[in-house]
């Protein structure tokens, strides 16, 4: 049974993150989304979005993510080298005969056109990703996908965030793994972060880095331990010591993995979990 929770105040945005990959972000994100009524799920893991495999098979492209890249007019350019010297990302090389642009390294910051003393640089927009949308009963679903061969995930996530529907009670982001720019871009505007941990030394080591990042960002967050029972107790001891709430534990269970591999989320395979996830959402709502 899906519990209808009409909320007194506006929507709550929750980001689901992890340090290490493969800890269970998508498992939690999809199950949480399916346990709530007026919800939108956005898969921000744009390098390999996979929530659609579980939730929404009919999606369509609705927009594209683009970044500006410089166009250098060779007639006007004096090869002074100011643009390549100013480029923070080394996307421009000032060579004897021309300025060479490395498009895929360019972050689209625009500093080259600003510093060019002879106005030889204009900008054009280059597509690097696609935004998709779909709907499955009550669930609104979006994801971004980076074009194969592109390197910059963050602008695709920024674009994806434009599609957040303000009339939803809950907006859930499935974040890329790790603690780099793409994770930060995913969580920065959210109200609460769910940090999924795998209780192994590797899982804990990566979790600590994310905790540090979230604290610097001033984010409220809590932990879900997935595959509980494997590895050791160090993750719980760490959370205890750091006063981080463990909001849920999902056991290390072969049957969960087996069902998941067949395309069934946790709550679809084991409906008893639905109440737990609904309860979790309410707890988070209380905390923000």
């Amino acid at each position: 049974m899906v519990v209808n929770i009409r909320l007194v105040t506006g929507m709550v945005q929750i980001a689901i993150v992890s340090g290490k990959g493969g800890t269970g972000k998508t498992l939690v994100a999809t199950s949480l989304a399916l346990s709530l009524k007026n919800v939108q799920l956005l898969d921000a893991d744009v390098e390999e979005p996979n929530s659609a495999l579980f939730l929404c098979h009919r999606v369509q492209p609705i927009d594209k993510a683009e970044i500006p890249v410089p166009v250098i007019d060779k007639e006007t350019c004096t090869l002074c080298g100011k643009c390549s010297d100013s480029c923070e990302y080394n996307a421009l090389a000032n060579l004897p005969g021309e300025v060479l642009l490395f498009e895929k390294i360019c972050h689209g910051c625009g500093v080259c056109s600003a510093v060019c003393p002879v106005n030889a640089i204009t900008e054009r927009y280059r597509p690097i990703g696609t935004i998709y949308s779909g709907r499955e009963q009550n669930l609104l679903f979006n994801y971004g996908e980076l074009i194969v061969g592109e390197e910059l995930a963050t602008p695709v996530i920024t674009k994806l965030k434009e599609f957040v529907k303000e009339d939803r009670d809950f907006v859930i982001f499935d974040s890329p793994p790790g603690s780099s720019c793409s994770m930060v871009e995913t969580v920065i505007d959210t109200d609460f972060v769910l940090l999924i941990g795998e209780p192994t030394p590797f899982g804990l080591s990566d979790m600590k880095i994310v905790v540090e990042a979230l604290r610097q960002l001033g984010k409220k967050f809590g932990v879900i331990i997935n595959k509980d029972g494997m590895g050791n107790e160090e993750m719980e001891e760490y959370c205890d010591k750091e006063q981080i709430s463990i909001l849920m534990k999902i056991p290390f269970d072969l049957e969960i993995a087996r069902q998941y591999s067949l395309g069934k989320t946790l709550v679809q395979a084991f409906p008893k979990w639905q109440d737990d996830f609904t309860q979790l959402a309410l707890e988070i709502k209380e905390m923000v």
Binding site: S84, C87, E88, Y89, N90, A91, A93, N94, L95, P96, G97, E98, L100, F102, I105, E151
Partner: protein, 117 residues
């Protein structure tokens, strides 16, 4: 028999240590140091690579730096695609070197034993 070279130029080799006896580094753009050999004076100089900590485009920055020092050739085990473009764009020669000491590579270069890419 190989013919000895008559060209005069500065050659850069990525190296792992700040020493004339250093092994070649297996990374080009992010090598910590470059050994620069001047074939005119036979002088050897070892310099820090300013691009070693670059967030991206290390190879591009490193080659521009080497070109600014008047380096005309590099010896490397391999170079990345971006560094390759800048090397070609600046008419810098690339010699394929097996992983060994920089000193030995210079001897091989003098004896014309290195393959140009």
């Amino acid at each position: 028999m190989y013919k000895l070279r008559s060209e005069i130029m500065k050659i850069a080799i990525p190296v792992v240590e700040k020493s004339e006896t250093s092994q070649m580094s297996d990374r080009f753009g992010r090598s910590s140091y470059y050994l620069i050999f001047d074939s005119e004076t036979s002088e050897i100089e070892i310099i820090d690579n300013p691009a070693v900590q670059a967030r991206g485009g290390a190879g591009i920055q490193a080659v521009q730096f080497l070109v600014s020092l008047d380096v005309k050739a590099v010896i490397a085990p391999e170079v990345g695609p971006n560094a390759f473009k800048v090397l070609k764009g600046s008419d810098t020669k690339i010699y394929n070197g097996l992983k060994t000491s920089a000193k030995e590579l210079i001897e091989k270069w003098k004896n014309n034993e290195l393959e140009e890419i």
